[in-house]
Subunit: 378 residues, 2 copies
C-alpha cells in the first residue's frame, strides 16, 4: 500500500520538492491532503495533479490546516510551513499518532521539547527533513543513544568563511546573499552568512535528539557533502553524506523506516558526491570561529538558558536579518540586535501562550535595538 | 554480567590487542579461554594475568583449540589465528550458536560462505574485526540489506600509491615494507603495497555481507581514517571513521551489539581523527588504478569465478609474497605468479576437503611459477 502523505506548506520550496519526490514514486506515495498560504492557483494545480480531495488555503484559517493534517488521515504529515501558523495542526497530528516529517524550524527551535514529549506519548515518529538533522537521524538508526558521545553538524561556512572579521562586519547585502553551495531564500542565505542557521540547527538537534549543547558540535565542511557526524562512546564515528539536494532528506523522511530506490550507476566516487569527470573527492573539516561568527555563540547561550529563550533568539534574528536586508543595520549589528533582545527577555517555561508572548516581545525588543542602532549609525 | 571471551591466537597481534581491550574493561569482559601457537611462555603469562582456566597451545592439536572455542563456554569467540589451523574449532563454535568476532582472513576468504550459512542456521552472530569490514558492518546496523546500493572499502593506497607503473614493478623489498599509516607484519605490508590486501578484503566483504563483486567498490583514502562506506538505494551515504587503531574494531566486535565507552574530550575535530594541534582535517577519496595494481583485478576475477578460487588466490599470493621477500622474484612478478596459479586451478564447490586440496595445489602451482620466473630472471 502506498503511504498517504499530507503536506502543510505545499507551495513552498520544501513542499514542491516533496511533491516532486512523490511524483517520482507513485508506487510508494499518494497525496492525502495539501495546505498552502497565498498561492491559491498553485495549490489548485497541485491538488488536481495529485488527485487530492482535502486541500486548504490560508483563507480557511486553523480549521483548514487541521483538516489537512488530521482529517485527511495521512500516514505521514510533512510540516513545511514557516513560523507558528501550523503549530496547532502539527500538534494535533502528533497527538493522533501520525508520523511527522518536520521541516518547520521555528516549530522545533521554539517548541521542540513539547513536540517530542507529545510524540513519545502517542507513538508518532518525528523525522527531520533538514539535511543536517536527517544525517544525524540516519547515523543513529539501530544505535543506542546511551552510547553516543556527541553529535556534530557540518556547516558550509557560508559566503564569509574566508573573510576577515572586519570584512564580515561591514559586509554588503549582495555579498551576504550569495551562497557557495546551496540555493535557498533570502532569510536562509543571510542566516548562512552569519552562521546563525547553524546556531538554530544546534538548538533543533538538541530538541530532536535530546543532547545538551555541550554534546553538539559544529564543523565547517565547505564541500557540503557530509551533513552530520555521530561520535560514539567507543571512539567509532559515523558520517552521513549525500549530494546537496533537499529531495534526498525529504524522501528519507517520507519513506522512513524504509528507503526509496533510484540511485543508479556503479561509480562509488560519484555516488558519494564527486562530479562525473572528477578523479578525486575531497572532504575538509575545520573548526568554526566563534569570534568572526558571534551568532553561533548566542544560539548556544539561548539553548543553555532554555525555556522560551530559543524562541526569543529565533524571532530577534528574523527582525535583525530583515533590518539588514532593508539596509537599516550593518551585517555586524545583527548579533548586537539579537543579544539585546536576549538580554531583555525572561526565561519562561514553554507553552503556546508563553511562546507567542516571547516571540512578540522579542520582535519588539529587536525592533527597538534596530532603531537604536540606526541612530548610532546616523 | 561481563561477557566471556575466548581467543584463538591470543599471542598474535590481534590477540594481544584484544587482551589489552579486555584489561581496560574488566566490568565488561572476562577471559574464558586462550589458545596460541608456539609462544607457550607468553600464553602462560596471559592465562595467569586474566585468571584463565582453559588454555591450549599448538602442541595439543585440534582438541586444544576445540576446548578453548567451545568447551570454555564463551559468549564470544575471537578467531585470530592465521591460516586454516582453527577452521574446525571456529565452525564448531558457530554450530553451537556462539558469537564469533572474526579476524582470520583465510577463514572468510576461503570458507566465508560455509561460515555464514552455519551462522544463519545456529543464530551465531559473525562480527568482523578487520577495520574496513567493521566499518561496513557498523554502517549497516539498523538498515535493510535490500536498500543497499553498494558498499565501498577504503584503501590507504599503500607505499606505492604515488609511484609510476615502472617504479612499482621494479620495487625493492625495503620499499614494499614501509607502510604510510598502519603498522603491521611483513605479509600484510607487502599485500598493502600490491593492494592485494584490498582485493582479499573485497572477497571477505562479499562473503560477510552477501553482495557480489560488482556491488563492492574500492576508494583510495590516504588518511586511513574513513574505513568503509555504504551507499544506499536512495542516494544517502554512510561513512564510518575511526583512528587507525585496531583496538577500536576489536572492541566493537567483542562488545557487539553494545558499544564500549572511553572516548574522552569534547573536540569534535579530534574525535573524528585530527591531531590535537591541527585546525583542520582532510579526507581524500580517489579511484583505485587497476593498471598499476593488477592484484586487485585478480581478486575480483577469483570472486566472480567463486568456489575454491578465492582460496587459490589467497594461497598463491602467500607463496608469491614470500618469494618476493626472499628476493626470488620481483614485485611486478607477484601478480604473474598468482595469475598462473589461478589459470591452472579448477573451480570446485567449497568444503573443507576441496579447500585443502585447492590450497595445496595452488601453492605447488605458485612455486612452479616462481621457479619459472627465476629462470627467466637468470
Amino acid at each position: 500500500m502506498p503511504k498517504r502523505v499530507a503536506i502543510l506548506g505545499s507551495t513552498g520550496s520544501i513542499g514542491t520538492q516533496a511533491l516532486d519526490v512523490i511524483a517520482r514514486h507513485p508506487d510508494r506515495f499518494t497525496v492525502a491532503g495539501l495546505a498552502a498560504g497565498k498561492q491559491i492557483e498553485k495549490l489548485r494545480e497541485q491538488a488536481e495533479r495529485f488527485g487530492v480531495k482535502v486541500a486548504a488555503s490560508a483563507d480557511e484559517g486553523p480549521a483548514g490546516l487541521l483538516r489537512v493534517a488530521v482529517e485527511s488521515k495521512p500516514d505521514v504529515l510533512l510540516a513545511a510551513t514557516d513560523g507558528f501558523v501550523a503549530f496547532d495542526a502539527v500538534f494535533a497530528a502528533v497527538e493522533c499518532g501520525i508520523d511527522v516529517a518536520v521541516a518547520n524550524k521555528e516549530l522545533i527551535v521554539a517548541a521542540g521539547d513539547l513536540l517530542m514529549a507529545a510524540a513519545a506519548k502517542s507513538g508518532s515518529r518525528i523525522v527531520p527533513v533538514d539535511s543536517e538533522h536527517s544525517a544525524i537521524f540516519q547515523c543513529l538508526v539501530g544505535e543506542s543513544r546511551d552510547r553516543v558521545h556527541s553529535i556534530v553538524l557540518t556547516a558550509s561556512g557560508g559566503p564569509f568563511w574566508r573573510k576577515t572579521k572586519d570584512e564580515i562586519q561591514n559586509a554588503q547585502v549582495e555579498a551576504a546573499l550569495t551562497h557557495p553551495t546551496w540555493q535557498m531564500g533570502v532569510k536562509n542565505t543571510v542566516d548562512s552568512a552569519s552562521m546563525m542557521n547553524k546556531g538554530l540547527e544546534v538548538i533543533e538537534a538538541s530538541r530532536l535528539f535530546g543532547f545538551p549543547g555541550e554534546r553538539i558540535g559544529i564543523l565547517v565542511h565547505p564541500q557540503s557533502i557530509a551533513h552530520g557526524i555521530v561520535i560514539f562512546s567507543d571512539g567509532n564515528v559515523k558520517i552521513q553524506a549525500a549530494a546537496p539536494d533537499m529531495r534526498l532528506p525529504i524522501g528519507y523522511a517520507l519513506a522512513f523506516p524504509d528507503r526509496l530506490s533510484g540511485t543508479n550507476g556503479s561509480d562509488p566516487l560519484q555516488a558519494i558526491g564527486a562530479h562525473p569527470q572528477a578523479s578525486a573527492l575531497r572532504f575538509d573539516f575545520e573548526r568554526p570561529d566563534p569570534d568572526r561568527f558571534p551568532c553561533v555563540g548566542l544560539a548556544y547561550e539561548a539553548l543553555e538558558q532554555g525555556g522560551t529563550m530559543p524562541a526569543v533568539l529565533s524571532a530577534a534574528n528574523e527582525i535583525a536579518v530583515h533590518a539588514f536586508v532593508e539596509g537599516k543595520i550593518g551585517f555586524g549589528q545583527i548579533p548586537i540586535v539579537i543579544a539585546e533582545a536576549l538580554s531583555s527577555a525572561m526565561v519562561r517555561e514553554v507553552n503556546l501562550a508563553t511562546l507567542r508572548q516571547a516571540d512578540a516581545q522579542a520582535r519588539d525588543d529587536a525592533r527597538a535595538a534596530v532603531n537604536a542602532a540606526r541612530r548610532v549609525k546616523v
